[in-house]
């Protein structure tokens, strides 16, 4: 019951700030927009290139799916920064709900939205066929990724300008979905430590055990380390 109240409060905060609302609902527009761009752009591109763009649908799907937690993670990061500025975390830490309860609610809020948007984006894009269980698994990993982005953002950024800088920097992780195209062994090895690479590999290998196991491990390790750092830093209280 208590948590439901906090979810409602999250929704209120989300709608109070037009920027949060915009970022939160961009995934709804993003999937059809990409679909339109592909429908118009691919036939045009095919006139000039000899390769088939269809061979790269897995990369496109991985990119669009990863954009969801990347954006929602930033939304959460901004909400956490707002709460930090408004001393809300300080206030909640002395209530029975506590600081950890606050973090759990925030993280679950982003996780739930990410999961819903993952299915929505996959269905709207209709680019690449994935078994339903694999899609659900990818959705779960994206939830961890979104929460991790929010925590990185929150731990590193002391103000919104820094937040903006790190949001830009965190986009670098999206490059890792392309590393298999580059054929650079050290870069592929490096990419293996980042969650984004494994999302692509799971999409590419559809149910092969190794990417699933490695993907899950990397996402959980990132999540736990970030949770530990967030807990250790006590969010400047």
């Amino acid at each position: 019951m208590l948590k439901l109240i906090y979810f409602k409060s999250d929704l209120k905060q989300l709608f109070r700030e037009p920027m949060m609302t915009l970022l939160f609902f961009i995934p709804i527009i993003m999937a059809p927009l990409f679909k339109i761009i592909l429908a118009l752009g691919v036939p045009f591109l095919q006139r000039y290139v000899t390769f088939s763009v269809e061979a790269y649908h897995n990369y496109i799907l991985a990119f669009v799916l990863l954009m969801i937690p990347a954006m929602l993670g930033v939304v959460m990061g901004f909400m956490l920064l707002d709460d930090k500025d408004g001393k809300i975390i300080e206030l909640l830490s002395v209530t029975p709900f506590g600081r950890n309860g606050y973090l759990i609610v925030r993280l679950s809020f982003v996780a739930m939205a990410t999961l819903i948007y993952t299915f929505y984006t996959y269905l709207v894009m209709g680019l690449y066929i994935l078994p339903i269980l694999i899609l659900f698994f990818i959705g779960l990993l994206l939830c961890f990724y979104g929460a991790s982005i929010g925590m990185i953002f929150f731990n590193l950024a002391t103000d919104k300008v820094k937040g903006l800088t790190y949001a830009k920097g965190l986009n670098v992780m999206l490059f890792f979905i392309l590393v298999d195209l580059l054929h650079i062994p050290w870069l592929t090895f490096l990419a293996g430590f980042f969650p984004t690479y494994w999302i692509y590999r799971i999409i590419e290998n559809k149910g092969t055990t190794i990417p699933i196991v490695f993907g899950l491990t990397v996402h959980i390790v990132w999540f736990i380390i970030l949770l530990w750092i967030t807990d250790k830093r006590k969010i400047s209280i």
Binding site: M19, L22, K160, L164, L178, L182
Partner: protein, 243 residues
């Protein structure tokens, strides 16, 4: 506001230089340089895998879309953070003039754009590049987008409000560039500032006609001067006087 401040011509350059130093230091501390170094390295890795023909198309577009227009976003964050921290109110009690304040922000962000673009282009592009064209193109592009961001930030209440307002601007400015794909030779498109900017950056890699370069450069200079004056008026009126 500026009329109340003493006019010492020799000190003007010194004040601007000091403000510029402070802005560069602030941006360095905020991690702008670090983030753009990492981004540049990733661009280099990707560009290294492309052959020169592909690179001549991809590089100017990427350099235009990312490092050239970085000021559009970052200026909002910087300006509104300074507003929240009350720094803008302090301009009243310093000899720094509004002109110098605006110019310092614009130049400092332009420096990051220029550094990132030259770093990427000098390392990744092996064919001939007209660096005079590239530098002029990047400076004019960066100044234009930073001033647009400045104007939007001046009319925003908070950083969040700025982002809501800047997204439509970004779409209005960037989306017309897609027209160049379908009508690459339609000269009238150069009247759209973002297309004129893209043509200047593109021209450095594709040996743009000299007179076209001159016309686009003059057009962007006039536009930037007008925008700078307008930004000055709006900024002075809306922010400094409000404070």
């Amino acid at each position: 506001m500026t009329s109340h401040k003493p006019r010492t011509t020799g000190a003007q350059g010194q004040r601007l230089l000091s403000a510029l130093k402070a802005d560069v230091l602030f941006q360095f501390k905020q991690g702008f340089y670090f983030v753009y170094l990492i981004l540049s390295l990733f661009y280099l890795i990707i560009f290294h895998q492309l052959d020169n023909t592909w690179l001549s198309y991809v590089m100017p577009v990427v350099l235009f879309m990312d490092p050239s227009v970085l000021g559009l976003f970052f200026i909002g964050g910087i300006l509104l953070l300074e507003k929240e921290q009350g720094i803008l109110s302090l301009i009243y009690v310093t000899p720094l003039r509004v002109w110098e304040y605006i110019l310092s922000k614009v130049i400092s962000l332009c420096l990051i754009s220029l550094m990132a673009i030259l770093f990427i282009s000098l390392i990744a592009y092996k064919e001939a590049v007209n660096y005079v064209y590239l530098i002029i193109g990047v400076i004019l592009t960066s100044v234009f987008f930073t001033l647009i961001g400045f104007l939007v930030a001046t009319r925003s209440k908070s950083v969040n409000d700025f982002f809501v307002k800047i997204i439509p601007w970004m779409m209005v400015l960037i989306l017309p560039c897609l027209l160049l794909i379908f009508y690459p030779n339609m000269q009238v498109l150069g009247l759209i500032p973002s297309i004129a900017s893209l043509k200047l950056v593109w021209g450095a890699y594709h040996a743009i006609n000299f007179w076209e370069f001159i016309i686009l450069t003059l057009y962007m200079i006039v536009l930037n001067i007008f925008l700078l004056k307008y930004t000055y008026i709006v900024f002075q009126k809306k922010m400094v006087q409000e404070n």
